[in-house]
Amino acid sequence: MSQKLTSSFNVPSLYVHVPFCSHICSYCAFSKTANTGRIDAWLNTLEQEIRIAAPVYETDSTDSDKGESSDQRQPGLVPGRFFQTIYIGGGTPSALDEEQTARLLQLLEPFRPDESRLAQSDLPFEWTIEANPESLTAKKIRLWKKAGINRVSLGIQTFNDERLAQIGRYHTADESRKAVELLKAEGIENICADLMYGFPGESLEELDRDIDAFLELEIDHLSIYSLILEDGTLLARQISAEDIDGDLCAAMYERIEERLTKAGYVHYEVSSYARNGRYGLHNTLIWEDGRYAALGWGACGRDEKGLYDHARRFDDYLKDPSARIYEDDPNPSFDALMTGLRTIWGVDLDAWQKRYGIDFYGKYKAVLDRWKNDLIIENGRLGVSRQGMERLDSILVDFLDAE
């Protein structure tokens, strides 16, 4: 088991959801709307949400005593206080035009940590924004950079133009390459590519071509997902789960791991690869059972009370942006295992037992026996073997069954 990445659970993060897309991709099940005409209304509401959720917004940034006590309350939205990471996801954050982008960044500006605070952390500050190749412009990148954004996650999906059309993406492989060049030229070094595999009819050779194309980009992070047919998506209506060959998907998963590892990337989470230490910090904190605040319609957060979401309907959000709807989550201790086991760092069992007041070994003895070849306990951390990670859900079902 590798040493863990972070030093404590309680490094809060902030997730901001931009629920707009210029169009809807056929496989996507995230909260989004293609009605970009409502962006301005949304920005106004977001501003309202920030004001309500962060009552110290106006006065606090200079009052250090008050700030200190607010910090104890983390991970509430305390501008100027410490968020180790900010992640702007979507939707398509890059679908905002330059003016809208500037406004969003201005609203988030107070959440950017100050230098002195950063110096106290053993982790870098990471501010990520998701972007699509076709909506990327030099001007937007400059705005981002100026605001403090230092990482861009690019929705490339595949370098096969026919596939891109099939899954309803509006960009081409060429545009993806140009987008990476543009980011690098503008000084964004920390780039993540999002790819998919396991398309109906995709062969290992086709996958190899995608991996080749990715490696040519010379970027440090890859998130690569097998295509999931989510209920309620257009794609799920177009093809059936039976069109996707499970064995082939497994072979692809293994091929990706083999080739990326050879190229110097660390397979640090089920679907994530990084080199040069550029792990996706925001998501890693969440996988390590961190607390994260959420802003914007469609954004989910977790505080000490549990997982929460905003109003389900966009119009309801506009009416009451600060409403937090807590999920029925009877066993958050399981959530911590579910996400923690996805990474090579696994779960710190002492911390877990302390946090949830559960005797891990007593409760899960049968699961540990049953999966003794796939589950590893080392230095007080529970992790899964390479094979175990590939069939993690089967293991997790047994953990869930022991609840």
């Binding site: 996801g89 997902y225 499970g246 049953r370 590939e390 089967s394 869930l400």
Partner: protein, 601 residues
Amino acid sequence: MDQKNIRNFSIIAHIDHGKSTLADRILELTDSVEKREMKDQILDSMDLERERGITIKLNAVELVYHAKDGQDYLFHLIDTPGHVDFSYEVSRSLAACEGAILVVDAAQGVQAQTMANVYLALENDLEILPVLNKIDLPSAQPEVVKEEIENLIGLDCSDAVEISAKSGLNVDQVLEEIVHRLPAPKGDPTKPLQALVFDSVYDPYKGVIAWVSVKNGEVQVGDKIRLMQSGAEYEVTELGVRTPKLLNKKKLSTGDVGWIAASIKDIKTVRVGDTITLADNPTAEPLAGYKEMQPMVYAGLYPVDNARYDDLKEALEKLQLNDASLHFEPETSQALGFGFRCGFLGLLHMDVIEERLEREYNLNLIATSPSVIYQVHKTDGTVEEVDNPAALPPAQKIDYIEEPYVRAEILVPKDYVGTMMDLCQKKRGEYIDLQMIDDTRMELIYEMPLSEVIFDFFDRMKSSTKGYASFDYTFSGYRRSDLQKLDILLNGQPVDALSIIVHKDFAYNRGNAMAVKLKDLIPRQQFEIPVQAAIGSKVIARTNIKALRKNVLAKCYGGDISRKKKLLEKQKEGKKRMKMVGSVEIPQEAFMAVLSMDDDK
């Protein structure tokens, strides 16, 4: 109400010919329920019934009909349970009646179950009132169908009412016909009480509720009654009728059809078909009752969770109350633990019982593949009856085996006769006869092994004739057959609950099909699992369930956590329906694999 103004009748029909719809219309026309509220009201009262543990089916309703002659008539409509399309339940209802309305689909004509039900009605000396339904369908051919009924069944159809139960057309005429053509109950209210128990259910508050048809005499609240078979005596606490709400009354008299509660806690003392009489003034003779139906099909029922064995036992006892044809006794399986070997009248019956156990008693069950009763003649000259393939004696101790045969009567359109004969042949059928019914249809008669009939015959008949064929079967006797036990080994271990008995000529194909089917049904697990089919020690088919390679959801970010957890919960629910046998998890369906596999593969 005067006894001569009482009419007790059932509605009989082939499945889907419109029996329930007609019953609904009759309820409306007699103002038993408002047309507008019809559905709601009936559902409401059913919810109530459920809460009180009374059966969900509408089994006997009392209606008042104001006839055109100016008089009021009391109707007892006794429902023939719609979900079980075999004769036993129907015959129970019919024994409580004097008449039956025979509903025939004017487009489809006489079907196998039409005939079977008519024969039952005739056996019970019922007056039969033929009614042609769905007369508004463009394909309706009432004249042709009337002729068919006259030719096939010998019923005079000159006065048959042509109706549309759906639209309500001419249903009022049916009511008049009931008044004029069906006889009033004949009994004598001054004689000692004779009440036929045609159904019974368990109510947690009232105890056993017996549904009765009073043939002679009368019974009142406070009377001491005797159940003639068991000799048990109880004091009547409540009685009444259903309208279709339960309605309490002070007494039930000759010709009445209603319910009796007497704080009966011991459910075994009330048998359907028994006669209830008064303890102080008993009748000398019980009513004819029903002939005990012998189960034709046996299967093991096991709780997935072994701890629920006692719950299963209690549930079976309660179900047996209104289903005397259900037999069960404890058995043990190496693979499945403690359970019951249950006898059923047929596969549908088995399905219904299984579903009721799961739904009404919240049990999670595994049913093993159904088996018939084999007569095993052993080398020592003794004969053993075997209803569980796992219990078949070793081959060297068997002289020969006999299996039950049935006479199958199949009504089939001319164009499909060839297809149907092929199917019967494949099922080891022996051709007996083929007769023209009319210009378009023929009746095909085969003698077939019952084990082949229960083994997906019905589904294949329906699919190979586009649903046009219908059939009925009756037990015809035992015949000697060349049979063998086919064992299934998972991960090298025989699983007794998966053993089946097959004809020698089919052993190889079935073994293969079974192995392939199990490979499809058993989900991949941590390790590779060899699936083998064997006769004795000889492996005749083998396949492998590959080890699970990949089962991990690609994405799990902050916003995915609850969705992801739901997916895992779903997988967990799926696992709950699996049984751990040795180190292998086997889903429920796998134990029934034999029923759904394709022989031709």
